[in-house]
């Protein structure tokens, strides 16, 4: 008995899929902005802060980098309300979890890019007598941020895909909607393929953009 694929059943669910996609995009954008800002501050503090701050932030970063995101989500969803005694909506919980995760990832990106601004740039600053504030604000930070841009874009695309994990804690994102439709129609192959294609259509141009941005920046700002 051959199995025939019928993608037309998905036409009945375009509204639901669009809603799910919108949730995924909203969540990703919010967590990219919040998480990257957090990562920037943490990256700076870990490069310059005192030993205690560096140690504490190091622990946080390694914890979030070294454990499955799914478990982090469960933690924030089920344990944080118990600890704080406050109930959060699904969206807020997911935002907190993915922001903390993104903060840990991007802080490493910023730290590496800060380190990559070489000692020679610092020497040039001192030779020109630049005050400490100008060394940081006008020379080191702008270069570090520019160098971080391609990796930050990659981090953002990864988060877009990894955000599918929030479906496991009951958030109605694109993945969650897809799974529901697939359960209700008993057509998992068609439904999940289409969902994958939607993720891909958004992620692929972004990954290409990362390459283009990287080459542009390299050409313009190398040496």
């Amino acid at each position: 008995m051959g199995m025939t694929l019928d993608f037309s059943i998905l036409l009945r669910f375009t509204d639901a899929l669009a809603m799910g996609l919108w949730t995924t995009i909203k969540l990703t954008l919010l967590c990219v902005v919040l998480g990257t800002s957090l990562g920037f501050v943490i990256g700076l503090l870990r490069s310059n802060g005192n030993a205690f701050i560096r140690g504490a932030l190091g622990l946080y970063v390694e914890l979030f980098r070294g454990t499955p995101v799914l478990i982090q989500l469960f933690w924030i969803f089920f344990c944080l309300p118990l600890i704080l005694g406050v109930e959060f909506s699904n969206f807020v919980s997911a935002t907190i979890a993915l922001t903390l995760y993104m903060g840990a990832i991007t802080s490493e990106t910023f730290r590496a890019s800060l380190r990559s601004v070489g000692r020679e740039q610092m020497d040039a600053c001192v030779a020109l007598g630049l005050p400490r504030s100008a060394q940081i604000l006008n020379v080191i930070l702008p270069q570090a941020v520019l160098r971080a841009v391609p990796t930050l874009l990659s981090n953002a695309v990864s988060l877009f895909k990894e955000s599918a994990l929030v479906s496991a804690v009951g958030m109605a994102d694109l993945m969650f909607i897809g799974q529901n439709i697939s359960n209700n129609t008993a057509r998992p192959v068609e439904v999940l393929t289409v969902v994958a294609v939607i993720y891909f259509i958004i992620a692929f141009p972004l990954t290409r953009a990362v390459t283009v941005v990287e080459q542009k920046l390299l050409r313009k700002f190398s040496v």
């Binding site: 001192v126 030779a127 006008n138 313009k220 040496v223």
Partner: protein
């Protein structure tokens, strides 16, 4: 300036000791008195501490002993294990490095005006005006809005010199500024330095270019083993050295061009 300042040394380096960590002793009691208007070329074997010497004079390094005076005033001293550098004195010194070290994210004009604005509080308009004049003098006026990556090595190095000159230094340091350049770009950079020399700019530099050393130097110092081995006019040190070690070095390194 009055007579007393012109009679005393511009730079006095007294018994300078410099280590990198406990095991690498680079400068071992180095003494140099540089008079105003002198153009000192430092030569010596690779790894002998020439860059280190210039970096110390620029105030970029901690030192382990000795002291420096500039214009008759204390400049760098040690206090216990700490190095004390007078940053007001340091502002009178400019340095150009082997690898350009322009700020890659800033345009040429922004490279020139950053320090005058941040160090001296000069207005953007006034700094730009001076920057434009220097760029014209260096034949780089058309490059004001370009970025360093769009320039040739020779152009970058000339911008680096212009950037240092924007701060009106009383002493310029050049550390092998043509070593990273393609051969055909060397002359344009050396010419800029020769012009500065003709205008009386005091300078201390490291170079391996014999022709350039002969033409720019008023004094040549041969450093080896962390101390000054020979010190004299270029005709002597480059042409007919007194010390055997200098003679051997000159023959080995410069015999082709000499």
């Amino acid at each position: 300036m009055n007579a007393t300042t012109t009679n005393s040394a511009l730079v006095e380096i007294n018994d300078l000791h410099k280590n990198y960590g406990p095991n690498v002793q680079v400068l071992k009691g180095l003494n140099i008195d540089m008079m105003p208007g002198e153009r000192v070329v430092v030569i010596g074997p690779s790894g002998g501490g020439k860059s280190t010497l210039l970096r110390v004079v620029m105030g970029l390094e901690q030192i382990q002993g000795g002291s420096l005076r500039f214009g008759g005033k204390p400049y760098i001293t040690t206090k216990g294990s700490k190095t004390v550098i007078d940053s007001e004195v340091r502002k009178k010194i400019g340095m150009v490095f082997q690898h350009y070290t322009l700020f890659p994210h800033l345009s040429i004009m922004e490279n020139l005006i950053l320090a005058p604005r941040k160090v001296n509080g000069e207005s953007r308009a006034s700094a730009r005006e001076r920057g434009q004049k220097i760029l014209e003098r260096f034949g780089l006026a058309a490059k004001a809005d370009a970025y360093p990556s769009q320039l040739s090595g020779g152009q970058k190095q000339r911008v680096a010199i212009a950037r240092a000159l924007m701060l009106d230094p009383k002493l310029m340091l050049f550390d092998e500024v043509t070593s990273a350049l393609d051969p055909e770009l060397v002359a344009e950079v050396e010419q800029v330095i020769l012009n500065l020399a003709a205008q009386g700019m005091p300078m201390m530099m490291v170079t391996h270019d014999m022709w350039f050393a002969r033409n720019v130097a008023s004094r040549v110092i041969f450093c080896a083993g962390g101390v000054v081995v020979e010190d004299g006019p270029p005709e002597q040190v480059l042409g007919d050295p007194v010390e055997e070690r200098t003679r051997e070095f000159i023959n080995r390194v410069f015999h082709i061009k000499a």
